[in-house]
Symmetry: C2
Subunit: 333 residues, 2 copies
């Protein structure tokens, strides 16, 4: 295992120290339990957004804490759910009196622990709503998931719902918006290589030198199929067609197209995929009105990519364009 | 070779098509010869900045074209210098009457071709100055370089000098600023793995599973030494100490610290390196006043990292904080 780490057990702790040193203008880091809150938390009168999950998907979620996006992120160990006490303490730390929305990716541990944290927070008088993201069309159930997995749409939801909360919308409005986004966004990913979880020290799965896995999960959970490596254009079709057909996206739709690196795939390849995806969508009469291209929800150093599509409208476009100031996504400020 | 590409010969062309489709608000892409210019080029009365080099280092340089940074970027084939006609046509396309600065990384082909392009542009009546970036302290000469290689400092220079040009400074002032930045910035990198140039199809060099290379170049050129893999803290010392000693950086200095991924190394590891680097600098009385952490000057999918330090002053801090709107770096707008 080749990684720029020290003791594998300290990876998340040392990462948090780095984030704390790098971004004191954006965030504060709390330890034991570990969570990251925006530097000006709690923001009085604003609905607060809390997300979290296993580490190893950076910049998600810690890199999305700040003005216009999350109020707090709870990092678990690599690919391991955070604990209810992290979520509870984060919820209490960011509650500004207008309630707290939990954005939860659909993995059994995350869902269970966020539910427990919500119950505990409610018992302390905090108004909590939760939305579960389950946008991955690849498989119905998976290793750690009943139902579909939550993947790339989470990034878009955190930006859009973050902007809505910043605007002063109510907890009910913000939660309804999050559910609407989950209803009209879909994703699918693929891997060219496995990744290595630091405290495991060996690849999560074996993938022969001439094969790829279509429909991979962000922790290396099995996808739909393994096959010989195909050209980028064929891979793009294998990812985008199931995404289009699932909702379905239709002629006349306006969409945000998000081409994401799983970590090890460089930007030059993402643009090649993006190009093919836009050509396919144009042929179907679907118009890309916004995009996001880069490594935003990763699986450590895994090579591969995912495609997410979200049906947009005027409100969502306005929220996407609204200012955001985080380590991982920033514009307008 | 596992990559999300089609025909290896079309990698750069298809990437450019993707950039053109993705960012029409930021850039225009010209083909044959290939170059990228900001969407509003030429900007009348503003000094124009042109850079370029082999592809494979994305987001540099094409991702840095836009308001507050470059006016044009000339992408060569992967790890191959662009041609003088690309540079000449780009220079002509962005000249707004106030002259053009060429920002050239110190590789023999880049330097020679930019010199030829500058001569041709001058013959057409365009005022051209050039600055050569040679910040890599690892080795004196290298595979394609007489003298030191130009690496991470190029990213910082393009941001800072871009802001100065946007402010309305003259060609002489902007060129002097670029030379000053080159005089007070230093870098060094390392690799855990090689990368694969698409049209070559096999790793640029062999690195055994338990070894790393300290002082690597951004095209896989040999560094100072190969050794068994060491923990991140020891690697950080091996990179940062030569950087500090070379200038030298001294107690009381204020610096920008840039921790860069060579492509395959994920953000979680960069923060671990950043943390150690800041601890080392604090112990020496050197204050980090700005930072940049992420994959900005990459070597395709190579795993590894580089550290760049630039001595800052009030003018440089103001220029760093100035608005920038490019695909690869954006804030304030």
């Amino acid at each position: 295992m080749k990684k720029l780490i020290n003791n594998p057990e300290n990876v998340v702790l040392e990462e948090l120290k780095g984030i704390e040193l790098a971004h004191p203008d954006l965030v504060k880091v709390h330890y034991d339990p570990d969570f990251i809150v925006r530097a000006d938390a709690p923001v009085k009168g604003k609905v607060a957004l809390v997300s979290g999950g296993g580490s190893g998907h950076e910049p998600m979620h810690g890199g999305f804490v700040g003005m216009g996006m999350l109020d707090a992120a709870c990092p678990g160990a690599v690919f391991t759910s955070p604990t209810p006490d992290q979520m509870l303490e984060a919820t209490k730390a960011v509650d500004g009196g207008a309630g707290v929305l939990h954005i939860v990716k659909n993995y059994t541990g995350d869902v269970m622990n966020f539910e427990m944290a919500a119950d505990l927070a409610k018992a302390e008088g905090i108004d909590v709503e939760a939305v579960v993201v389950d946008d991955d069309v690849a498989v119905k159930d998976s290793t750690w998931t009943a139902g579909r997995r939550g993947v790339g749409l989470t990034v878009l939801m955190e930006k859009l719902v973050g902007a809505a909360a910043e605007e002063g919308r109510s907890l009910k409005e913000v939660a309804d918006l999050a559910r609407k986004i989950n209803g009209q966004g879909r994703s699918m990913g693929m891997a060219l290589t496995s990744c290595v979880v630091p405290h495991v020290g060996k690849p999560t799965f074996d993938l022969p030198e001439d094969e790829m896995e279509i429909g991979i999960g962000i922790h290396g959970e099995p996808g739909r199929t393994r096959m010989k490596v195909e050209p980028a254009d064929a891979v793009t079709e294998m990812l985008l067609n199931p995404v289009i057909e699932d909702l379905p996206f239709e002629s006349g739709d306006e969409v945000l197209l998000f081409v994401n690196s799983m970590g090890g795939t460089p930007l030059i390849e993402l643009y090649i995929v993006y190009r093919k995806a836009v050509e396919m969508l144009e042929a179907k009469g679907i118009k890309v009105v916004r995009n996001l291209i880069g490594p935003y929800i990763t699986s450590l150093e895994m090579a591969g990519a995912s495609i997410t599509m979200l049906k947009m409208d005027d409100d969502l476009i306005k929220l996407w364009d609204a200012p955001v100031k985080t380590a991982g996504m920033r514009w307008g400020v």
